[in-house]
């Protein structure tokens, strides 16, 4: 199980790196929203893998909060872009 957890964490780190590349490069605001959304999902998956590794659920409340806040943030910025343009 330890090997699996390490493989998962390395894979998630690589995925987060690729999301960051798109987040920095853009070019438009919607691109960055999608990248940030994916990055947040990687963070959620990372916390879940960490919880699976230790077997205790101290951080699971954080998990629920982060996933819901991610949704609120995405919708808010999307509304903003729709009115103001996203170049």
């Amino acid at each position: 199980m330890t090997v699996v957890v390490w493989i998962c964490l390395v894979g998630l780190t690589a995925a987060a790196g690729m999301c960051l590349v798109r987040l920095v490069r853009g070019p438009s605001v919607p691109d960055r929203i999608v990248a940030l959304d994916a990055l947040l999902l990687v963070v959620v998956a990372g916390i879940a893998v960490g919880a699976a590794a230790t077997g205790d659920g101290d951080f699971l409340a954080v998990l629920v909060a982060v996933s819901l806040l991610g949704f609120v943030g995405t919708v808010t910025v999307a509304r903003f872009v729709e009115r103001r343009g996203g170049s």
Partner: protein, 110 residues
């Protein structure tokens, strides 16, 4: 914890991480916002569900497993709404590649 459940949980975790990797690859390589959304929304539902189920199988406490499944349920409710908002914002702000569209029903709807 039986060995069979351990293996199932490991497979689910690795599958979810594989989806996350594919999403990252798609985000970097795909040419425009709509195809990038296509790549990024796969781990948002199926991939996250795999990770969450895999982690839930490892939990010693039943209420922890319920919390993990709650995250999966929230994601299933919110992901379509978020994707819809981003897609419409990209369409209306003109940042998407609108010439590459095969069908444009939003134009007829106004």
């Amino acid at each position: 914890m039986s060995a069979a459940l351990d293996v199932l949980s490991a497979v689910l975790l690795l599958l979810g991480v594989g989806f996350a990797l594919l999403a990252g690859l798609g985000l970097v390589r795909f040419p425009d916002i709509f195809s990038r959304m296509h790549a990024a929304t796969k781990p948002a539902t199926l991939g996250l569900l795999c990770v969450v189920l895999g982690a839930a199988l490892q939990m010693e406490d039943g209420s922890d497993a319920v919390k993990l499944l709650l995250v999966g349920a929230f994601q299933f409710i919110t992901a379509p709404v978020a994707a819809h908002m981003i897609g419409r914002a990209a369409y209306r702000s003109g940042t998407g590649d609108l010439d590459g569209l095969v069908v444009d029903e939003l134009k007829d709807a106004g």
